[in-house]
């Protein structure tokens, strides 16, 4: 049961990731990336990480990708170039580089010993909000405060960069 659900989610993620990079319409790119993130949230939930599955949907699909859609509609981008159009050499080298990176990563994964760990679905007691929140506000308090500072700086920078010039 669990491996079947994982296989379906992985298949959906890979197919819609290809749609994300290959389709011409930017809106369809963003919406298929939403599908990829939902599939990944399903995998997180399957592995027992409830909190991560929730913030994957709420923060990533709900906030970050809506920001992308907002900018696409603000800039009124209708259709853009096809994947690797125009430059044959660049497209070929890019495909070779991506295939090399993917193949080497897969080889590295296949060299891992399969006995070192099988992932047991749903058996994680640290996957819920309570232990994560406790760790976030005790042992990882500095990193937590620092990321709030980073987000404030990013918001101020974004507002400054995107403002209209008043003459």
């Amino acid at each position: 049961m669990v491996p079947i659900v994982f296989a379906i989610a992985a298949f959906v993620a890979v197919v819609f990731a290809i749609v994300t990079i290959a389709h011409r319409s930017p809106v369809i790119n963003v919406l298929s990336l939403v599908v990829v993130f939902f599939a990944m949230a399903a995998i997180f939930a399957l592995l027992g990480m409830d909190f991560l599955a929730a913030i994957q949907i709420i923060v990533y699909s709900g906030a970050i990708l809506v920001l992308f859609l907002f900018v696409i509609m603000l800039l009124n981008i209708r259709s853009v170039e096809r994947l690797g159009s125009g430059r044959r050499m660049q497209a070929l080298l890019g495909a070779v580089a991506a295939a090399g990176i993917g193949a080497s990563a897969l080889i590295a994964v296949s060299l891992l010993t399969p006995t070192s760990g099988a992932v047991y679905p749903g058996s994680l007691e640290t996957g819920t909000v309570a232990p994560i929140g406790r760790a976030l506000l005790t042992t990882h308090l500095f990193a937590f405060e620092f990321i709030t500072l980073l987000l404030v700086a990013a918001i101020v920078g974004a507002v400054y960069l995107a403002r209209r010039e008043h003459r």
Binding site: V80, A98, I101, V119
Partner: protein
Amino acid sequence: MTDIPIPHTWVLALSAALFAIGVLGVLLRRNGIAIFLSLELMLNSANLAFVAFAMTLAAQPGGAEAALSGQLFVFFVIGVAAAEAAVGLALFIALHRLKGTIDVDRVNILRW
């Protein structure tokens, strides 16, 4: 509902495939927003690898702390991705206002 374990290599293989697709998108697309979307895909594949290793450590004795750290790292990666998306999209809005396009091939004002 039998409890059949998923090998962590499956999750890592999915992570590698998504990362390679993201690299392909960054190298082959010329629209700035499409490049950004591919970057988000690569960040998420890294998150998936973190989760896989956290689960591997959680299955071992005394690995609960490591599993927690892996999830917190994913949390921080999502926070950094949010900041990066906000600043990058603001840059593209400014660029569109200046040049009328976000095609990265047409953005060569830093070139002499």
